[in-house]
Amino acid sequence: MIPAQFSYRRASTVDEALSVLAEHGDDAKLLAGGHSLLPLMKLRLAAPEVLVDIAPIDELRYVRADDDGVAIGAMSRYHDLHRDTVLREHAPLLAHVAGSVGDQQVRHRGTVGGSIVHADPAADLPAAILASDGVLVARGPGGERRVPAAEFFLGPFTTPLEPDELVTEIRIPRQTGLGWGFEKFTRRAIDWAIVGVAAVGRSVGLINMAGTPLRARATEEALANGASVAEAAELAAEDTNPPDESHAPPDYRRHLARVLTARALDKAAVPA
């Protein structure tokens, strides 16, 4: 399978990428790791006229701890994040989740920025970033803006990002010492989660329980009001709208959400 014709451009700074986007508008797409976009293009489900390869933007490949928390450059690859000592210390949930995406080869290419902007409800990092109260930093022709993860995921593959904007950074409040747990239920080794749960402290993010990643609000409130993990986890599927597939109908997914939430919270109860 070969993608439709396009013209390949390369940007090695954010400004360069923004100027190509400004020039071509809707016809251009950013190419980060390419592990969501290229498969879509090969299936001809996407056919941008211009591809802007942002892999050379080294200024977006970093993890830094500062007073507010941890800042992750959008072009950091899963493999970088999984091994990063700063991330492991201050946001260990994200380091672990990054090591659970796809397989070794996928982790060498896929980026955190690509995963967020692709906004697949079955993706792992978006739910973990949501549970972590993460904030996304985007740059466009009008300058920089910050969007909390809680306002970023609008629907399946839908975000408030404009076609001429680029996500540059993901900011995570420091989680040093907080317990965390990640549970991902898959059918085969490298599959996306049928359901997944990312917990840090008493925050819970759900993967694939609706058209977007979700917080398990009822569970979180119950915990705040003194409920046990077992009691709170019973509420994990409230206000969810899980997809219906022949191998995993909604009821089955709700059951998984409860079981996996209990497991993730049990792990998160142990301080890191």
Partner: protein
């Protein structure tokens, strides 16, 4: 566009369509056919090569993305005098292949795996190779081969 890639230590530079996939560049432009296309959907790992030393699936990369970088294919593992790489030798010794279609991808993924984890357990080999499918062997002997190549005792 003109794409120049250092393939197994030698620069291959050729004018190709922007949409050319890396795997096609390697097989058709560079004439190196060890790298196979199995699924063409990033699932099977048959097309695995090393990009700057790290395993990637070349059916899901553009040749343009590798422009200016170094690629190693299975051909590049064998020394000029024909001496096999320890992983190639171990796959032969441990009978880690039957039809051989998955083998180049398996071996390139294993190079990367051992690079990150030089003394893996059997389970770690299985986890590390989860992106590579084999329809023949049942994986057992593949795991043994990687363990042998890592210099550890093969405990079947």
């Amino acid at each position: 566009m003109k794409v120049a890639i250092e393939v197994n230590g030698q620069t291959v530079a050729e004018e190709v369509e922007d949409r050319t996939l890396l795997v096609h560049y390697l097989r058709e432009t560079a004439g190196l056919t060890a790298t196979n296309i199995g699924c063409d959907t990033t699932s099977c790992g048959a097309c695995t090569v090393l990009l700057d030393g790290e395993s990637v699936k070349s059916c899901t990369m553009l040749a343009a993305q590798a422009d200016g970088h170094a690629i190693t294919t299975m051909e590049g593992l064998t020394a000029d005098d024909g001496e096999l790489h320890p992983l190639q030798r171990a796959f032969r010794e441990q009978h880690g292949l039957q039809c051989g279609f998955c083998t180049p991808g398996m071996i390139m993924a294993s190079v990367s795996l051992l690079d990150h984890n030089p003394k893996p357990t059997r389970q770690e080999v299985r986890d590390g190779l989860e992106g590579n499918l084999c329809r023949c062997t049942g994986y057992h002997n593949i795991v043994s081969a990687v363990v042998e190549a890592s210099g550890q005792e093969v405990d079947r």
